[in-house]
């Protein structure tokens, strides 16, 4: 029982980690303008945060939309 709980917790943590990899990959491509410096501009930073939030909004809307289609 304890092992099952432990495995499930590890599993969720890993899913979160993999989502962060996926979002960083997508949002870095779209939001980073230049690699001639090491600081994120305020536009880049804002774009990254928005990008994650809009992706999640879209994901939730799609799930709800699919449920309503059934």
């Amino acid at each position: 029982k304890e092992i099952a709980t432990y495995l499930e917790a590890e599993n969720s943590k890993q899913k979160v980690q993999m989502s962060i990899h996926q979002f960083t990959n997508t949002c870095f491509k779209e939001c980073i303008q230049s690699t001639n410096n090491t600081d994120l501009s305020s536009q880049e930073e804002q774009c990254l945060g928005n990008c994650v939030n809009r992706f999640l909004d879209t994901n939730i809307r799609i799930v709800k939309g699919l449920q309503s289609l059934q």
């Binding site: 774009c47 809009r54 879209t58 939309g65 699919l66 289609l69």
Partner: protein
């Protein structure tokens, strides 16, 4: 039980693909707007496309199977 697991895998794949495609079609850097009408329309168009693709592929498989190709 196995076919249930496969159904979950299919639903997950569908949600992921629709989210990716509709995010790409409807949202743009710097991602300030949610653009929900576009997401809703995109979902419906994606499901209709899924049906067309599905029919085209299955009719192709049946054709190959009738002609003894496979």
């Amino acid at each position: 039980q196995i076919s249930q697991e496969l159904a979950v895998a299919n639903a997950t794949e569908l949600v992921n693909k629709v989210t990716e495609n509709c995010f790409e079609k409807c949202l743009n850097s710097p991602y300030t707007d949610r653009n929900e009408p576009c997401v809703d329309q995109c979902l419906i168009k994606y499901m209709r496309s899924w049906n067309i693709v599905s029919k085209a592929y299955i009719s192709r498989i049946q054709q190959a199977s009738t002609s003894g190709e496979i």
